[in-house]
Symmetry: C2
Subunit: 482 residues, 2 copies
């Protein structure tokens, strides 16, 4: 037993208890975890200029409190089983009031829920780990990291690793684009590419014409850049409606247009070649840049890869954005922009806002593509996703009530589902979370929070449990539709 | 020999020549490089819907042109020695007109010059590869990549990898900060951290008070965000002048303040503890957020790590930003923000603008720190940089003309040098490039392009050649000073 001794002066007594309280707080807040070594007595004494004996008294007190334990010849450690170590709270299930919903919080929560292994992932549009090339790609990464020169940890300044840009330029030929490596700027994923392109051509207050519905991350980036979203009617199979876009341009000062040209998220729509050509021509007539997101372009279910609108660009106005995040390795954070005539601005913005993209992931992906591994991998996952989309569609047909409508995407891995009009999908979202299922409520996909009776479902995590989850969702929907 | 045969129809003749011309262009622009395999005859035929024999004719023509060669059983390859393969042009040396300088281009050029092994690197503030822990860190990366679960290639959504945040929180104690892992948001380097913090608290048109001179990347990010820089006089040893800042706040609506608190780039100044406290108190009185850049904080030359202003933050107004880019691995692109009361906004902006930071680099760095390797590495490089700064200072004293002034940094690896007033350092920059030396001209470090007779020199690349380079610079300066 140790503790405050009656004969100490009040000041010293106060000091060591204060030290103990500080460390208790650090343990409670998780800065020191069970099993972590806390600073040695000497370190703490030097850092705070207090005597060795004061620190020792503090540590004795912490031992008494059951928070730390001494290990001979090694130091003091946070105890593995803290006296207060209750199980962590499970997912909270707040009542979501549709009139007060904060879409930012909702989006961030859906992200965090992707890391919860107890939830069935029908929500965020994340690829399934089994359909990424993690093992092969990581093996290349390991080999490169083991043998790389010291330069491998230096900055890879914009426009980014040249051999990777060569590979991207070669692959662009499949989508009808003749690119030189110098046309390309490597970014940390497709979202950064779009963000930089928007910053390059828009000023705060400007209006951007977009497809509707559209991936909520794009809406939120527009919001964070203080840009206005002009939502253009969009066909579930053929994408942005050109007549409506023409009308909008004639009546509103549109600064830029942004589309997910191939397998739009959430619609799965794919703009036909002739429409792409017309879209590029229409915008060129008004000198309006087109930001083209092609992130799902490689995940086609038919024989041929769809072209990109960039293929029809004659004035350098199309800014193509993509990445390897949906088909290869989201965690590698490697994407690219082909910004046409705005290239030097995008390159400069990349430098001013994040300096460079991580070096080793660029090297590994370049090597994976040039070895032929990427193409091989894509062939496998295209088939798998086509099948998962088909299975999910069948399950919806089977279990969802009459009146349900569902998209027929030609690629990608999400479905956009229209429920009976009386169903509030935000309410459905809350009820589904209660039984361990996440989904993406429709209101996220529009700036004015329309699409209340729509949901987006992710087919990537298809499984027998997912089928049961769809059945349960069907029951909840029936309940809500009454 | 093969080639167009006279009896072909004009249309077919045209088509195969067109195909050959397309491929020639792709080779000339670098999409296909010497040694690359070009698409097989079958692939090209399928992709463009033209006959096998047309493609074959095109390939024969390309062979005739000396551009490609057939390899038995393997396909067609771009020839290793193209007939037009002249050596690449060396660094161009345009005459830089000081009245028309484009600082964006100048900054981007300095970046690109860091990748030129023929240049002596006294320009950009990049660490020396020998003083990074590349080999050890890459070895950890290799081991992790080889054994990691499939999840290692998934998104690591904001706030980022928790074990890394735990390590950062523990290390923060050395700089006087009590942080919980949940206070921290992982970013792609310190620049992204600052960019997100600025976006969180400022609107376009707002004014940000900054030290002057200051790292040009910060000035350019302010410009790209349409923020106004209010340059506050700054002491070469003690950093931002608090009287001047107080005056500025009293007379201008200042939305935020940004300082490099420890070893300012380019000054090397370090704000003393008492000033840090006063700075935080002053800003808190006016509810002005302080964005604190501590990227050089670990590179101190004395016994003790300087504290951070964040240590004195009581209102959650200090937004601490840092990274591992100056002392460990810039190419890993791992940094962090501690945004205080603005945390959820910063997290959301991270998601909307780049989704996440690369996963494996976070894992590797967390492991390197917890193994003790980082602290060990820091001890080595602190000594090395202190020595390089001392050597560069001595060389400047020896070779630069009378009237030269130089800073005395207590950490980091750059020196800020004031030359005789008649010397235009932009002119010096051009002349130095001519003889293979880069340096950072002073005008980059101020929004109004002052500091014309200053240069920043990077001591990280110190060597015998660097000593000779300083001697040569001395001669050029003498010439310009006449």
């Amino acid at each position: 037993m140790s503790g405050p001794a009656g004969h100490k002066s009040p000041r010293r007594w106060f000091l060591y208890e204060q030290v103990a309280d500080n460390i208790t707080r650090l343990i409670e807040r998780g800065t020191y975890r069970p099993g972590d070594r806390i600073p040695s007595v000497r370190q703490l004494s030097q850092r705070h200029g207090i005597s060795i004996s004061t620190v020792l008294q503090a540590y004795y007190l912490l031992e008494d409190r059951g928070l730390i334990e001494a290990r001979p010849q090694s130091g003091y450690y946070v105890r593995a089983h803290l006296p207060s170590a209750l199980p962590e709270p499970s997912i909270s299930t707040p009542v979501l009031d549709p009139t007060q919903v904060n879409v930012q919080d909702l989006a961030m929560r859906m992200l965090r829920d992707t890391m919860n292994p107890h939830l069935l992932q029908l929500g965020a549009a994340i690829p399934h780990p089994d359909l990424l090339a993690t093992r092969k790609l990581n093996r290349i990464m390991a080999s490169i990291a083991r043998h790389a020169a010291p330069e491998s940890s230096l900055y890879e300044f914009p426009p980014g690793w040249e051999p990777l840009r060569v590979q991207i330029a070669q692959r662009a030929l499949h989508s009808g684009c003749e690119l030189a490596p110098d046309d390309i700027v490597i970014t940390s994923g497709c979202v950064e590419a779009m963000d930089l392109c928007l910053r390059a051509v828009c000023r705060p207050g400007d209006t951007v014409a977009i497809e509707s519905p559209i991936y909520y991350g794009i809406l939120q980036d527009l919001e964070s850049l203080r840009l206005r979203a002009l939502e253009i009617p969009t066909h579930p199979r053929y994408g942005i409606n050109l007549e409506a876009l023409r009308f909008a341009i004639d009546h509103t000062p549109v600064r830029a247009c942004l589309v997910i040209s191939n397998f739009n998220n959430p619609l799965g729509s794919c703009i036909p070649d002739e429409h792409k050509k017309e879209l590029v021509t229409l915008l060129a007539q008004h000198d309006i840049p087109l930001i083209e997101n092609d992130i799902y372009g490689e995940l086609y279910f038919s024989e041929h890869r769809p072209t990109v609108a960039k293929a029809y660009d004659r004035k350098g106005l199309v800014m193509l954005c993509s990445s390897f995040s949906k088909d290869l390795a989201p965690g590698y954070r490697v994407g690219w922009a082909v910004p046409g005539r705005f290239k030097s601005t995008v390159e400069w913005l990349k430098f001013t806002s994040s300096v460079a993209t991580a070096t080793l992931p660029q090297w590994a992906i370049a090597e994976f593509i040039s070895s032929g591994g990427y193409e091989h991998h894509l062939r496998r996952i295209r088939r798998a996703y086509a099948e998962r989309i088909a299975r999910l569609t069948q399950a919806i047909e089977r279990y969802f009530p009459a009146g349900t409508k569902v998209t027929r995407p030609g690629g990608g891995f999400v479905l956009w589902v229209e429920l009976p009009e009386s169903v509030d999908s935000l309410e459905l979202y809350g009820m589904a979370l209660n039984i361990g299922i996440t989904l993406a409520p429709g209101l996220l996909f529009s700036a004015n929070q329309g699409y209340r009776h729509f949901v987006r479902l992710n087919a990537a995590y298809w499984s027998d449990q997912a089928e049961r989850a769809v059945q349960q969702l069907g029951e909840l929907i029936l309940e809500l539709a009454r």
